[in-house]
Symmetry: C2
């Protein structure tokens, strides 16, 4: 039974105000509008058009015949990213927003509210950059849905109490410039501006964040900080990127917080010698050691019920089949809901690495750096309540789940400086960071409608708050 069919049945059961009939059609010849929170309804078709319109910039990795059946490669501060940015700026201005750009290229589009009490805006933020082999929803859904909410407010002449706006955060993926959630991290005061500016393109060391911001025209003059541009709240709609909602048959995840994670880079140093003439006993084989380390770190991960993954391994370009490599570099990504478990896993992994390094031949040396350390985050009760209210109305009491985010998001940094939460929608097979990443048009629309109603609910709530 489809979700929409289930929703229809639920509506017939008519269990009071808490659950309303709600449906999105996939054609412009939509059925008559149905009752929705605050009398507003996002346009599901327009949202789809926006998503796929922006994907013309960076479309890659075709996997099917349909024009939308490609993945994305829109690296942060690339020419394609710049095109998507200009589109975002134009479209938000059309619906009455002022747009400001800070020194990290973060884009803040703000639609003024009614209140003379000019408190910081209630923001809907996400990112337009993608993984090199990414999909069409990670980040993109959040930004396009935020625009769809602003368009809906604009079309209906809806006046919020306080400013409401959309944010495009720079280099969330950390794929081109190797630090994820980079610019929200600077905004939150967690990453120094100079460090961020000096980060280099992993494939072209001549390009830095600063030089690329300048090149594409998005090096703003406004300081990048929560003092210079404070936020009243931060809501982010995002695909779950995991299988929990789909396998539980739920449509909305109300995100309570994010798990902690650390990224390490491990460098193993050996000696390049001939494979045919060098006995095992006299070798220093860093690739053998790295292979054992990767396997061991996975075993440690299982024993702590933590996720430990190696996504990248590199050897010098001078390596060859009949030469023991001189050195090997690989990454570790360690995740768990609790900070102290991440720390314990790291310690256990490094202890195992020390033993492995001495195991074969004449041994290898290794060193490591901690590249990212993202503490577990707890999101704001008021924001969570606003999303729960909206979810309960839209998909019923059984249609949503409280969840913890497995991935890092700009919302994690935002939550350090303002009330924050996230809204998850299911994605096919829980697949993300993959060209075939997919969220159905219905699920995108439900997510955007929850975003709209959560933001408006929070806008009401703020009347009774001081911030």
């Amino acid at each position: 039974m489809s979700f929409l069919a289930r929703l229809a049945i639920r509506s017939h059961r008519a269990i009071g105000r808490q659950t309303r009939r709600y449906s999105f059609t996939s054609s412009r010849n939509a059925a008559a509008p149905v009752d929705a929170g605050f009398g507003l309804r996002i346009n599901a078709d327009r949202l789809q058009e926006s998503i796929h319109h922006t994907c013309q910039w960076g479309a890659a990795h075709r996997y099917g015949e349909d024009p939308t059946q490609t993945g994305m490669c829109r690296l942060a501060l690339s020419d394609d990213d710049a095109r998507a940015r200009r589109w975002f700026e134009e479209e938000t201005r059309k619906v009455g927003c002022g747009v400001k750009v800070d020194q990290m290229g973060n884009m803040f589009a703000c639609r003024p509210g009614a209140s003379v009490d000019r408190r910081p805006m209630t923001a809907m933020g996400s990112h337009l950059d993608t993984q090199p082999r990414g999909g069409r929803y990670d980040g993109i859904l959040g930004v396009t849905a935020a625009l769809e909410v602003l368009r809906t407010l604009h079309d209906n002449g809806y006046q919020t109490n306080f400013d409401v706006g959309a944010i495009n955060w720079t280099n969330e993926e950390g794929a081109r410039f190797p630090k994820s959630m980079l610019a929200s991290g600077v905004w939150a005061g967690a990453i120094p501006l100079e460090d961020a500016w000096q980060l280099r393109d992993i494939f072209n060391p001549e390009a830095t964040v600063r030089s690329e911001l300048e090149r594409i025209g998005y090096l703003g003059s406004m300081p990048c900080s929560s003092q210079a541009y404070p936020l009243g709240a931060h809501f982010e709609l995002h695909i779950e990127q995991g299988p929990i909602l789909e396998s539980a048959g739920k449509k909305i995840g109300v995100v309570q917080g994010a798990q902690a994670y650390r990224w390490l880079t491990v460098n193993v140093q050996g000696r390049d010698t001939h494979t045919g003439t060098t006995p095992y006993a006299t070798r220093k084989d860093p690739l053998l050691a790295a292979a054992k380390m990767i396997a061991a770190s996975n075993a440690v991960g299982h024993s702590f019920e933590a996720l430990v993954t190696t996504g990248v391994i590199k050897i010098p370009p001078t390596s060859s089949t009949n030469t023991v490599a001189a050195e090997v570099t690989f990454t570790l990504d360690i995740r768990h809901a609790r900070d102290h478990v991440v720390e314990e896993v790291q310690a256990a992994v490094l202890e195992r690495f020390g033993r492995i390094a001495a195991e074969d031949g004449r041994g290898v040396a290794f060193s490591w750096t901690l590249d990212s350390d993202s503490r577990a985050a707890s999101f704001d009760a008021g924001c969570i309540a606003a999303v729960e209210d909206a979810a309960r109305r839209l998909v019923g009491p059984d249609g949503w789940l409280p969840v913890t985010s497995g991935a890092g998001h700009d919302s994690v940094y935002a939550s350090k400086q303002c009330p924050t939460t996230m809204i998850f929608v299911p994605c096919k097979d829980g697949m993300s960071h993959n060209p075939e990443e997919y969220c159905s048009p219905e699920d995108c629309a439900i997510g955007a409608q929850v975003l709209l109603e959560a933001v408006l609910g929070y806008d009401q709530l703020r009347l009774g708050l001081r911030r």
Copy 2:
């Protein structure tokens, strides 16, 4: 006690004709010449000058202050390789050689012998190409020592019975065009010419062996085959590239044959998904599987007393720290003195790989190709005897060892078509395919003198042979 000191002591013990005093000085103000086989003595200083002169073309990877303290990166058919080739051609012509180039760029420099019976030349062959992080001796010593032998014959007006010459074989390393001993393989009829011509530069697929031969002017018109250019014998002086001679305190290895080896490329296919949100149970992680495969293949190698090594591992350039890789490719190099053991190791390794592929999450797929299959080689008794005689005279009955080559060499293919053997000299720490690869001037000279005397001994022997 140094080798020269030991040699001096041995000479004082005067144990008859078999052992003669023999020393090389490291300066031009050499002591008076000592008695040497056939009354000829190679010039140790000139040999050193030639080695390091040629290393101006491709010097790389400096590791010390001395001008000679660099490694080499002289890839086959590069501009630097072309410069070294022109030097080889000029220098061999100066000592009375005619030089022919075949369709694979192999260079045959031939100094005519006395006999009207124009049998094929007794050749001294090796290669001038290097690994991308190679040293100054692998291949280079063999070619420069061959030239030094020819110069010594020329300077002394020594008339051999049969033609004697030097060969520079193309792309021995297989580092740029991924098939080792490529052009000696074509000459021996083991590799089809068209296949060899079409091999592509591993980093620049637009460059093929044929296009690069043409570009640098070494696409000869003579067919590349042992019919078009037969050889009477093939001797090759080479550094051992392993630790056996050094640790045994021996100066010469008389090579009885070469171990068998196979090169495989293994491709493991998984699915790229987010590291933070994808539980272990739903992953298809090819890098984890590859890590386990590499560790397992090493364990299989130990159990068969065979050498199994992974020198290269590659992931797509789109990989990132927080994404499970989509696929991984790695190489396997399997070596043992016996062909059947290499086959058994391959079977055992692939069986283990099959089990590992199913072990984690939803499993991975893998495929493999056999890129090289070099059977064990047995060298020629007559050539071996000629080298043994020379070694016994020069370094005494305890100064040499019969050894098996761990590495592949052009001599392995040559041995399929003509009487062949090799002469090994020690290299520091057994290290090769490394910028710091080193063979002392004394050891180079002893090797070149053994080469000279073995070739002249074999030249005498041929009077009683039909070939």
